[in-house]
């Protein structure tokens, strides 16, 4: 008649294609969970998703004003900041909400069967919707105030893919671990704080490079600094969206071509990371219902 499912005591081995097909079969739950989260987030608020758009608008306004007054180092600081910050928000909010995703849905996990991967994926999905909405604001800002001069926009997809893979890998990893060790959610908060300042979002990567290379053993420090994959992602977004005009290697000390190569490498490593995190998640998810 229909296909036979077997369940045994063995934690099943992850067969990517088979599991991906099962996940695809359950995609309706993923869409519904994302939709639910968004609705719940904006429920009983008159403006709804406009809040999501308002956030970058206010950011842009405030920072434009502040930097005009203070005459800071980076030209057009607000759009520069936002180019990297939106990517960072997708990453960090996915991680901190993703860590809780299984626990927050304990009721579902204990009562209904569905592939558990959907929970962290839905978290990433919600953040992705915010990311897209806010990016639209940012791009509109660029076009309105600087004209359409996004000539290296083609780097954008490289950065985006890398960002998504890194986010999915780490989110899955922490959400699986957090079921057993609730320390993870606290650790994530601290780690993200450090990580944020290790990433050239509020400051320019070029500045770091200059000051590091000036110091003794600075080139090693600079290489270590570049081990952070999110740095590449953020630089990719900054390169794709932001233009400072005068110096082509400021604030991002790499050309679009160089970034595309590095981001491809980062993506490949992140893809392996997704596989490993998925495998861990998959083998642990069989016991979620018990551990909650």
């Amino acid at each position: 008649m229909s296909d036979v499912t077997e369940r045994t005591s063995e934690p099943p081995r992850l067969r990517v294609r088979l599991r991906a097909r099962e996940l695809y079969g359950y995609r309706e739950i993923l869409w519904n969970l994302v939709r639910k989260e968004l609705k719940v987030k904006y429920t009983a608020s008159v403006l709804g998703a406009v809040w999501s758009l308002l956030n970058p608008v206010v950011f842009l306004a405030v920072f434009t004003f502040v930097t005009k007054v203070l005459k800071g180092g980076i030209e057009d600081y607000a759009p520069f900041l936002l180019s990297g910050l939106l990517a960072w928000n997708l990453f960090s909010v996915s991680l901190s909400n993703g860590a809780q995703s299984v626990i927050a849905n304990a009721n579902l996990v204990k009562k209904v069967y569905f592939p558990r991967e959907i929970l962290p994926l839905a978290t990433v999905g919600v953040c992705l919707v915010d990311f897209v909405l806010q990016s639209l604001v940012l791009v509109a800002f660029f076009v309105v105030f600087y004209g359409f001069q996004l000539d290296v926009l083609w780097v954008y997809p490289f950065a985006f893919v890398a960002l998504l893979l890194i986010t999915v890998a780490i989110t899955m990893f922490v959400s699986a671990l957090n079921v057993r060790y609730r320390d993870v959610q606290h650790l994530i908060g601290l780690a993200l704080l450090v990580w944020f300042w290790m990433t050239p979002i509020v400051y320019a990567a070029s500045t770091v490079r200059t000051s590091m290379l000036a110091a003794a053993n600075g080139s090693i420090a600079w290489k270590v600094y570049l081990l952070n994959p999110v740095t590449w992602v953020v630089m990719g977004f900054q390169r794709a969206l932001y233009h400072s005009g005068s110096d082509p290697l400021f604030p991002v000390p790499y050309t679009a071509g160089q970034l595309a190569v590095r981001l491809t490498i980062v993506s490949l490593i992140a893809a392996v990371g997704v596989y490993l995190a998925w495998r861990l998640y998959f083998s642990m998810s069989g016991d979620f219902a018990e551990e909650l």
Binding site: V4, T5, R7, T8, N32, N107, V112, Y113, E290
Partner: protein, 391 residues
């Protein structure tokens, strides 16, 4: 007909932590965790044929809900194997996927996706769901404003409008008012007509007897009895009595009380099954605080299908008990038992001669088993002698 679900030697161990170490520090400091093993299921095996309806019954903590979760794929068995053919929908909890902030309509779509319906499929059954739940006017209201009854109705309506080959139902038949319950049962029957395989976990033993064609009783995680629902439900009732006599179905004023009952086989206390042909005696100790005039003691035997088999009482047998005060013993001696194979339940009663007053009735509280001689398939054992004569 193939099998829809095969459960083969399934055991499930839970680790019970005194204090669950959920942080790394606790886990490291406590060294070897003070986990205790608790076997919720031990070597459970049964099958559900395609189109069959199986009931899982048992006391609280017997493992039946765990079994259902293992079948549903929510829990992984510690040992053993489960094989399933077809799409499963579990009604493990009505409206498990509901979110209070969403409207009824949104929740129908959300919950249905957990039960395996796509958006398009939900569109098709949406009106039926609303109608079934009788919530036409409330679908655009957030469900946090629903009464608990409305929630349950909506949850059930979603759950029964899915299209699975295997349906798992956990204790959801006992919700709502009577008319709603009746409709739920109708829905389950229509599932049966459509040839779906069903597993029901329920405490409502009468429902089990009405609906199911097979039952499995779990006790402390093991299969205690399996077979026809009538048999298993009786077994269940019997063990309830052994577990906790307060559950026994008893009634009466207890002006004359049945204080002790002993079954005797060939004059000795009964242990194990009785063979047809052996004699059985029912020895009943009565106690009356106040003197009671002319009571009658009766007994009745029912078989495994709950059919009345045989009964008698002291009045018909011509014994006048007179006025009973203090302790008395009444003993019925039954001749060679003519019935064969099966389990029999004994109901005892003490009442006034005109049946106007019931002093004490113990309903199917005692049982004995009659064992069939090997190789015989008789319904009755009739004493037969045979001889040969010259003509």
């Amino acid at each position: 007909m193939g099998t829809a679900i095969e459960v083969v030697d399934v055991s499930k161990r839970f680790r019970v932590f005194r204090e669950k170490p959920t942080s790394l520090k606790q886990r490291l400091l406590s060294g070897r965790t003070r986990a205790e093993d608790f076997w919720a299921l031990r070597e459970v095996s049964f099958e559900v044929p395609q189109g069959g309806t199986l009931a899982l019954i048992g006391h609280n903590g017997s493992g039946k809900s765990t079994m259902l979760k293992v079948i549903a794929g929510i829990l992984r068995p510690t040992k053993g194997l489960i094989r399933e053919r077809g799409r499963i929908a579990g009604l493990l909890e009505l409206g498990a996927g509901f979110h209070p902030e969403l409207t009824g309509r949104e929740n129908v779509y959300l919950n249905s996706s957990f039960l395996g319906l796509s958006r398009a499929e939900t569109d098709v059954v949406y009106d039926d769901i609303v109608q079934f739940a009788e919530l036409e006017d409330f679908m655009d209201t957030a469900v946090k404003f629903y009464s608990s009854g409305m929630l349950v109705r909506l949850g059930f309506a979603c759950a029964v409008h899915v299209d699975p080959e295997i349906v798992l139902i956990d204790e959801v038949l006992a919700v709502g008012d009577e008319s709603f319950q009746a409709r739920c049962l109708d829905k389950v029957r229509s599932f049966q007509r459509e040839g779906r395989s069903i597993v029901i976990v329920s405490h409502a033993l009468d429902v089990v007897r009405q609906l199911c064609d097979h039952a499995v009783m779990l006790d402390h995680g093991r299969v205690h009895a399996t077979g026809s629902p009538d048999d298993v439900v009786r077994e269940m009732r019997l063990t309830i009595l052994h577990h906790d006599l307060e559950f026994a179905r008893e009634e009466g004023s207890k002006e004359v009380e049945i204080v002790d009952v002993v079954l005797l086989r060939d004059g000795l206390p009964l242990e194990g099954p009785i063979r047809s042909g052996q004699t059985l005696a029912i020895q009943i100790d009565l106690h009356a605080v106040e003197p009671i005039g002319d009571p009658v003691v009766s007994f009745a035997l029912h078989d495994a299908t709950n059919s009345f088999v045989f009964g008698d009482d002291t009045a018909r047998l011509g014994l006048d008990l007179g006025t009973v005060e203090g302790a008395r013993r009444v003993r019925f001696d039954l001749g060679p038992i003519p019935v064969t194979g099966g389990k029999y339940w004994l109901t005892l009663g003490v009442h006034s001669r005109d049946n106007a007053r019931v002093y004490h009735v113990q309903d199917e509280r005692y049982s004995f088993e009659v064992q069939q001689a090997e190789g015989r398939r008789d319904q009755l054992s009739i004493p037969v002698t045979v001889r040969m004569q010259d003509r």
